[in-house]
Symmetry: C2
Subunit: 385 residues, 2 copies
Amino acid sequence: MSGRDDDSGGGPLLPAADRQRLRDFYAYLRQQAALLAGYPVAQDFDYDELKPLLDYSLNNVGDPFSGSTCKIDSREFEREALEFWARQMRAPAGDWWGYVTNGGTEGNLYGLYLARELHPQGIVYYSQHTHYSVAKSLHFLNMRNIMIRSQPNGEMDYADLRETLKVNRDVPPIIFANIGTTMTEARDDLGEINSILDELAVPKRYIHSDAAMCGAIAPFLDRRPRFDFADGADSIAISGHKFIGSPMPCGIVLARRSHVNRIASAIAYIGNLDTTVTGSRNGHTPMFMWYAVKRFGEPGFRERVQRSLALAERAVRSLKAAGIDAWRNPDAITVVFPEVSQALQHRRQLATAYGISHVIVMPHMDEPYIDALVAEIAADLENRR
Amino acid sequence: MSGRDDDSGGGPLLPAADRQRLRDFYAYLRQQAALLAGYPVAQDFDYDELKPLLDYSLNNVGDPFSGSTCKIDSREFEREALEFWARQMRAPAGDWWGYVTNGGTEGNLYGLYLARELHPQGIVYYSQHTHYSVAKSLHFLNMRNIMIRSQPNGEMDYADLRETLKVNRDVPPIIFANIGTTMTEARDDLGEINSILDELAVPKRYIHSDAAMCGAIAPFLDRRPRFDFADGADSIAISGHKFIGSPMPCGIVLARRSHVNRIASAIAYIGNLDTTVTGSRNGHTPMFMWYAVKRFGEPGFRERVQRSLALAERAVRSLKAAGIDAWRNPDAITVVFPEVSQALQHRRQLATAYGISHVIVMPHMDEPYIDALVAEIAADLENRR
């Protein structure tokens, strides 16, 4: 903050050896960032204009919609970013609330927490291919839960959901829907889920959409998936460091305000109703979210989605042409193929599980990048035959 | 990341009006940061050398001591920062574990979680003046808990603790100890607490030290308080954005490794045992923690503590000389005085509760700063008489 004027005196603050380590680290990062192809990390961001903010200790403690005696914050910018995403998620006007989280996991934890408070006896239903952090959160929150089978593409098996719900009709269901699974970017369909719940005449229900992966993609697809508030979600979590782009993990959680109000508790100390998970909150991540919204806007996001989809289709076609059993879910930027060697998994940082590996096409990639990557994968799988 | 080369083309990325808002925001922050005196926010940091890191999306997903296929991380630096603080906390050699959290709340949540897993039937004891986030975490984790009276200085009332433990001897106690309360920087004494537990012949116990406030101060005091692993703590949470200094909330949680191992669960996806709360983890905050350790080292931290203590003593003496009933706990940098006007609370961002306000003396302050602040407080309280 004021540090640079006060005490640095212009001289280096670190011992020479440590400064050298930093330089080496930068070189390493440059190299690894260029190779990274298996995690959903958009790299077309540019937050140079926000770097001066690192001179300040920003803390958006508590609720973004309340004031606080602690004024070194970015709540005003945070609210604007939230408003943009609430609109994209078709949140009910005047009945939504949210905040910028430390990532998808916190957003999911928050959604599950809300669900538990509303339905203390509820059972959580989530599919087999759900991110591992969800089981951890359920254990944390001490919630009853049942795992539902996944279809081969990674989507929830609705027949299994129906059968399972049928024998638990006495207990409110809490559906944890994946809007983009980790390995195959499969999306559970809130339309299907709600039909089943209606058919079984379930009066009380809660649906949380884990849109960590697809929350910033799905609103911009020509064939819009059924995943948002208008489709029946009670809360939605989106990641900020995936498709939106952020130097550090962050995310956005949105929920119906009427739900949130029921769990709010008055806090004297910070002079506001604190309904967030963490209390002290990062004030920099909301700035990244704000900047992305102002820079891209709806047209920009739509263009990035279209570009990534086209490249994903190119990757699938090229891999198939090379005789590889590659595929992707409809409108997905995740390209799936048989497990590659450990060497290539490491070199290209390709997440691998259930006998498959994947590439996730991100907006900073282009045709030459994809073509080179496809060639590497094809050569690797050729060697393994 | 590669964004600047790829698509900015040198032109501005934001609309002119938004760029102006950023400039206004910087001016506002400069002003507010200089006025802020009531929250423990060290402002003598200077992370200019780390700003280039904002070009990269760092993610220390999972355990800092394991590898991962995701290689854009700062785990190596994180481990070094952890080692420094483990040494300061006198962690048992070879039997400690930890990670850089998103703040004190996450560290406390983690400690309580560990305690719950080890003692599912345990009762949590915590004093009246405990931070409000703890009640929230206990509710989250669904843990039985009993609030203990505080002494007038904010420290736990040990007599009340003894009486309360006496009637619950059938259930393992989980002691949540404050090492620096929010309002008066009171420290619960692990020596006293352990004597009581020994006296009552309690065989199973867990002690978590919430050292969010004093964790980075207490090890450097001449009269070292009893709060750390050698004093019987099972886990300790420290804040990074308070005395250490960080542009964003972060912290360090440390725990006995034997405890952590008992709750670890194998995760296929990221190829590591994930025992953290969040999964995806900020890779920038560990860099701030590393930088502070390398820049200050033990002598630097000791010097910052001594300087702040001397200034706190100066503030108490000056306020008293002005006829104000000011005081501080032994070796505390928090200066307590009667509640000031709302106008001054807002202007100087002075947290106020229980009829008292406080100033927290931080290493970026100096004698002229303290003298000017004391004059403002004295004038304000004079007007209120």
